[in-house]
Symmetry: C2
Subunit: 204 residues, 2 copies
Amino acid sequence: MKDPACKLTPLGVMTLALLRERDMHPYEMLRLMRQRHHDKLVPITNGTFYHTVARLQKAGLLAEVGIDRDGNRPERTTYTVTDAGTDAVVDWVHAELPRIDHPLEFRVALAESHNLPREAVVDLLSERRAALTGEHRLYRDGLEGARAKGVPEQYRVQTERQAALLGAELTWLDALIERLAASAFPWGPDAEPHHVTTERRLSE
Amino acid sequence: MKDPACKLTPLGVMTLALLRERDMHPYEMLRLMRQRHHDKLVPITNGTFYHTVARLQKAGLLAEVGIDRDGNRPERTTYTVTDAGTDAVVDWVHAELPRIDHPLEFRVALAESHNLPREAVVDLLSERRAALTGEHRLYRDGLEGARAKGVPEQYRVQTERQAALLGAELTWLDALIERLAASAFPWGPDAEPHHVTTERRLSE
DNA sequence: TACGGTATAGTCCATATGGACTAATCGGAA
DNA sequence: TTCCGATTAGTCCATATGGACTATACCGTA
């Protein structure tokens, strides 16, 4: 039922999400993403990006809305996101938000989680917290066992780090869920629409 | 000078590192890595793994040492790591340990850092700490600015998480560097050789 | 006016990845 | 004995990725 969204890559999701703000041509999306440092979230290279756009179009998740030409520069095709594309983003976030493998996917899902209603996000993040707690215990037990068995510390540093980071993530997650559930701040695209880009427009 | 090691993938490094323990055939490496949960560190799929071995062999980093046959099952080629392969691991860890982009690569580098002498690791991790501190400040400043500009909290959650995790990593890293520098525990493969696998051997 | 550098807007290709598929053998139950 | 499923040991291919390359237009300077 929620199957067709399975093939989306993180960059694909970010592309669709960007187009929800307004219609754009590919190079403009590239510039925007880089200006907003979204390339810290996901590696964005030219080749991958243009391929992604082509794939999304073939999948019917975005569509051309016009071709304009500025001066004598190459034509630029402007794209818009389709209804299927909007649904795909929502479904993808729904699927990735509770998962604890795929750290990269989670970051993107979290960044786009405002596309879902507050209660859904609280539920999905609680599910994630449960999984994370289990994973944390697994690591701590594993380390305990290794220490007991006399595995030297130099072979455990990586696992110790992982356990420490899992702990930190749990702390952060608990705080977020609590604030979300208590409605400590507004949520949802209707509540506070993404403010329109104030930077100088690209063409003009 | 340290150039030829540049093309190594994380899985390639782990493969070479495994072969430093003893000669093995590919399927045995696969089993061992999975038994040791190295697939939590790096995704390990069949296709990728066998391709990786082939690539390493073509690059001269590992070499066949014999083909045996057990019963009537398919032949298994046993591999060993070459001197070039050993150097490549050391160079790769040297290059990746101080870097703060490439989180996956860092985890592998950390897991294999015992291949380097203690002082080198202290230096490289200190370099990493400096970079990490800068990144952390960047995030905190960015968040400060966003808050000042009135960017709604729902659009900042991902960045807040990143900042929190950076903080946790700094804390962990400081502790590790201090203990390493103070020689709080043994270090280096000569100090405490990796204990020989106690599990039941595969063939026999 | 010639000229070099940067911004625009991509294309192209070698390589890496994931996962479905193959094929033989072994062990145990009916 | 025969059949079923798991284990062993990979192969193969479609797709994704990174990064080098192209080509034009604009802008400031000498």
